[in-house]
């Protein structure tokens, strides 16, 4: 059992800053996802934790010990690489056995452990093949096997399921969650798939351009996004974000954009009259009745529900979610209502901070000031 602490960690490549002032405390046994768009510094963060990349500032500790100067092999971690990094000249069995061999596990025991890991990952019939003779998904499972065969302090997984087909991915997701529950090991899981992060993690760390945006449990990230970026990034279909003006109305606030003018809930001290952004989840729009009118641009049927794209007040596009039973014609006009109790307000800019008063600071580690 080991907690992992990033304290003020910085990583620059020449003049480019890949990770900036990262403060992150991962509790012992926690499943934490690093989530963010491509190039946001997820892999770099993981590689620093693995000891493959030296932080240019700050300290990283595992289990209370600063490991900045500890060699990767001495950190007692296991890692799945984004590129798999299987040893091409070794068979699957040899690949999985390699970390055991390097740690002096006797051959007989080694074979047993390899067989067990292979069984779990459905690799048993492939044990004598070379990585070059495997499909992408099979290679990925071998990479997982090489990490799971040991029982390290911390598991580092860099997009380990990205290359599996949907069915196997679902299976492996459940398998990993189950494994985590069983082993109780700290796991750091890198992904750019928010669904994976939402379904598997205890907490999610969302990154953008090397900055941590929010670090909180999935529900909190979804319900109280710390800033506009997080709001737009989490949830499918993503939250509607409308740029407009914030104005005072008596003791409260109103938000206006084009013909839209809605009251917004209590805001915090950062709120100022002027440009702001309104966020509403697709499910907080109800179609069919209400005082607003919009044109139906597109109806996407997913089976149990419809995703409807609306054009509102000329240029504003909105996404709504309705039951599959609701019959909407493309090109038709439809009335809709907004659930004003579920609105989010953010400051201007790509990472404009959350302005809602309610629970705005619930998460202890947010970084929305950038």
């Amino acid at each position: 059992m080991a907690d992992v602490v990033f304290s003020n960690v910085q990583k620059t490549f020449g003049t480019f800053t890949a990770v900036r002032d990262l403060d992150l405390t991962i509790r012992s046994g926690e499943f934490v996802s690093l989530l963010g768009p491509s190039g946001c510094g997820k892999t770099t963060t993981l590689r620093m934790l693995a000891g493959l990349e030296f932080p240019t500032g700050g300290t990283i500790s595992i289990d209370g010990k600063v490991v900045n100067d500890t060699a990767p092999g001495k950190r007692d971690i296991a890692m799945v690489f984004q590129s798999y990094a299987l040893y091409p000249h070794m068979t699957v069995a040899k690949n999985i056995a390699y970390p055991l061999k390097k740690r002096g596990v006797p051959a007989a025991e080694r074979d047993q452990m390899v067989a067990k890991a292979a069984e779990m990952l459905q690799l048993t019939p492939l044990l004598n093949r070379k990585p070059g003779q495997l499909s992408g998904g099979q290679q990925q499972r071998v990479a997982l096997g090489r990490a799971l065969v040991r029982d390290p302090k911390v598991f580092l997984l860099d997009e380990p399921l990205s290359n599996l087909d949907a069915k196997l991915r679902g299976y492996m997701r459940a398998e990993l969650v189950e494994l985590h529950a069983r082993l109780g090991r700290t796991m750091v899981y890198v992904t750019h798939d928010q669904l994976e992060a939402m379904t598997m993690s205890d907490r999610i760390a969302i990154m953008l351009n090397g900055d941590l945006q929010q670090f909180a449990p999935p529900q909190e990230v979804y319900r109280f996004p710390a800033n506009r970026f997080v709001a737009g990034f989490i949830g499918t279909p993503s939250m509607n974000l409308i740029d407009g003006e914030l104005t005072r109305a008596g003791s409260g606030w109103r938000f206006c954009a084009a013909s839209l003018d809605v009251p917004v809930g209590p805001l915090n001290d950062m709120a100022q009259p002027g440009p702001a952004c309104l966020g509403m989840r697709p499910e907080s729009l109800s179609l069919g009745a209400g005082e607003q009118m919009a044109k139906v641009l597109l109806v996407e049927q997913t089976g149990h529900e419809n995703i409807v794209t609306l054009q509102f007040a000329g240029q504003i596009r909105l996404t709504a979610r309705t039951t599959a039973a609701q019959d909407l014609q493309m090109g038709a006009d439809v009335a809709f209502a907004i659930d004003t109790s579920a609105l989010h307000v953010f400051g201007p800019g790509e990472t404009g901070p959350r302005l809602n008063r309610l629970l705005e600071n619930k998460s202890s580690e947010t970084d929305g000031q950038t």
Binding site: A50, G73, P88, K102
Partner: protein
Amino acid sequence: MTRRILFNLFAWSIVLAVAFPLFWMVVTSIKPQFELFRRPPTILPETVTFEHYWRLLKETNFLIYFRNSVVLSVATTVTVVSIATLGAYSLVRFRYRGRESLAFLVLFTYLLPSVVLIIPLYLMLVTLGLANSILSLVIAYTTFALPYALWLLRSFMAGIPEDLESAALVDGASRLGAFWDVILPQLLPGIISTALFTFILSWNEYLFALVLINSDSARPLTTGVMNMLVSSFNIEWSLLMAASVMMSVPLIIVFAFLQSYLTRGFGAGGVKG
């Protein structure tokens, strides 16, 4: 269709042009002396004899030269490949000041004609007390084989994904362990090509051997055979050809042995993308 035939004709004529001297070398080496200068020449020998080979092995220093050449080429190859592998690893994996300029400087020395270096090198070796020894040739050949070998291996090394090594490090290997377990097997085709290049270069080298060595005990085959069989008055053609055949045999063996390694598909599919 006619284009195909023409192309084949063309290709075969080139093959013949290249192969004929080799063929003639073999044929001459097994013709008896009296048949050598007959006019018109016989394409295939009327009587086959191995007397020239016998004479070469029994009555001359051929075996000494041969041994020298083997020692010399193997030593040079081992030295060059070892240094170049480690050097290439350093140039590719580590970041330090002047890394790129170093690599270019190395290539620059390769651009210098070796004739220019021969006198300074000779004087240096004399000062070191190494003149007239096989070691002096090993050093000399290393100086001009190393830059090319370094570049060749550098490009092979650059093709090995860094993640492979990272994975080995995380799996508990030391840097040297990762190098041995993961990098070297991946580099094998590169090492073999480099070794072939160096071996052929040192096996066939003539100029440096001529200048640096003048004792029979240290002479390699190239200068040894010329010295022994070619004089201003007479060229022992049949012996020369027999010697040439025997000089080619090791190269042919080395090639035949290593070719399968060169063409075998290493390293495919270990890494995504």
